[in-house]
Point group: C2
Chain length 311, copies 2
């Protein structure tokens, strides 16, 4: 497993919840107006010029910080890891929602595990075929802070089809009525800490059981360049849980390590070829990244991924 904790450089200088950072990370940031997240496993960092830290708190699950920035709008940082910026979250949210929803023939019941910022829920509810979407976020504070600082992501929270639960997603899926769900979206933090149990065969088995035939699971699957071994192990665990077909879709995501990210889709009892291209091409809602051509493009794997994943 090539993943691990991302280390935040500059937030720590004025973060009361973090222990002092290790010697080899020292950057005097008291004078600086950059928030920089150094990602240890890949030896690279990404930073944003910030103007203000608007909020910081320690919840029972994690620390959450909100910054304002000069060029990326507001930022949400969890345990020192950049979760989203107002400017570039559309890439992730559109790609974790629309390819799966335009692959399923008619996803009526959707479960989102994690996704506390509500951006994925908003994208899901753009689909009129969705009759019910429940977001199961372990940390209510993520959602409350999103409502305050990222109201645009929470636009659909009042939709009568939306249900916001604050609960353990692993337990939720384990207890889910068999064959009751069309799509499970795992929109979690990295596979360390609270999200660790969302990346293994036991969890995938719960999802498999909860899904109806031809149901889909889609999960954020980290960086193609930095986490190829994780992607391989996720795909293997999905298959061993019974999923018949698995595909990984890369997409750009500037605020995450290496600036390149992916989601992995798996399907129960069917292959992943059912893209409703006409539906995507004539969709009645606006997107900024996703469209029918981007959907097909995201299914093309770079040569090194094709080799590593045996496709």
């Amino acid at each position: 497993m090539s993943t691990g904790n991302r280390e935040s450089l500059q937030s720590r200088a004025f973060d009361p919840f973090h222990p002092p950072f290790p010697e080899d990370h020292i950057m005097s940031s008291t004078e600086s107006n950059w928030f920089t997240e150094a990602y240890e496993p890949s030896g690279s960092s990404i930073g944003f010029r910030v103007t203000e830290r608007l909020h910081a708190e320690k919840t029972p699950f994690q620390t959450i910080e909100i910054y304002d920035s000069t060029d990326w709008g507001k930022l949400m940082v969890i345990d020192g890891c950049m979760m989203l910026t107002a400017r570039d979250n559309f890439l992730y949210h559109e790609m974790i929602a629309h390819p799966a929803l335009f692959t399923h023939a008619r996803a009526k019941r959707v479960v989102i595990i994690g996704g506390g910022d509500c951006g994925t829920l908003r994208e899901v509810l753009r689909h009129e075929e969705v009759e019910h979407a429940v977001q199961v976020e372990i940390d209510e504070r993520v959602t409350r802070l999103a409502e305050k600082y990222f109201p645009e992501l929470c636009e659909a929270n009042g939709d009568p089809r939306a249900e916001l639960k604050f609960d353990d997603g692993i337990k939720y899926m384990a207890d889910c009525e068999p064959e009751s769900v069309d799509l499970v979206i795992v929109d979690s933090t990295d596979p360390v800490g609270p999200a660790e149990g969302l990346f293994n065969a036991a969890f995938y088995a719960s999802c498999f059981k909860a899904l109806r035939p031809a149901g889909l699971l889609v999960q954020q699957s980290e960086s193609p360049l930095a986490h190829l071994e994780l992607i391989k192990s996720m795909r293997m665990a999905m298959r061993s849980a019974g999923f018949q077909a698995v595909k990984t879709l890369p997409f750009p995501q500037p605020c995450y390590p290496t600036g390149w990210w992916s989601c992995t889709m798996a399907r129960k009892g069917a292959d992943l070829s059912g893209f409703r291209e006409r539906g995507a091409a004539t969709k009645q809602f606006a997107t900024r990244y996703y469209n029918a051509d981007i959907h097909k493009a995201a299914l093309a794997l770079p040569e090194f991924m094709r080799e590593a994943l045996g496709e």
Copy 2:
């Protein structure tokens, strides 16, 4: 124009050639082992954990630094801007070379403007239809340092079809015999400093004149997210120089601002639909990113680009 000088944060602390950095960039980096490049126009930064600065010099054109890093191999930095890492340059070099070469029916004569690290030349010479490829780099020191620190990129420098010229690319194209070239690749630094004159209609007119009918121009065109106005103006200038068809191909590039980059292709007297898909699918050389599916995928534009570029 949304571009400007990229500001290097940490290199400056021990770079004798740079003036003191501005107040709002201060990070005490003497104790740090990260090289971080803050890109002013987009208010974001990208850094790499370095182990050693192997070389630094001021040439008549620019300052060049070479670092070793923990996870990205050697890095080349010009005027504080990350030019390449050993680990991720394959993305850029493959994407600036192969889509154009597999679009042209048979590119025999190729001109590379810039490209001093020789990685583009290496990719071009993988194509057996290429009979002659000249690299016109203004700064010989870039190539000499690449030979020393990135020998893998210079593997093809001894190929009898290769010619290495150290000269002004703007002048070279202006003086080029009309209709003598099949493909011009502009592999330059950002459109400031020595490369500024490579991003305007006068230069594109020289390229147009030098190209044979159905000849191609391809140029690195910065970040889709941070430089959309630049991309628009490049495309407009290419069209006003006479090019019939223009297409922009995005691709991931972790070491460049926003981690997302692009190249723009233009064609003389023909459209850009002639992709030799069978040639790409049966190519006799190895790539790590590019393949026939990636070629088609790179032609799919995200929705915001399609809207901005009128496609």
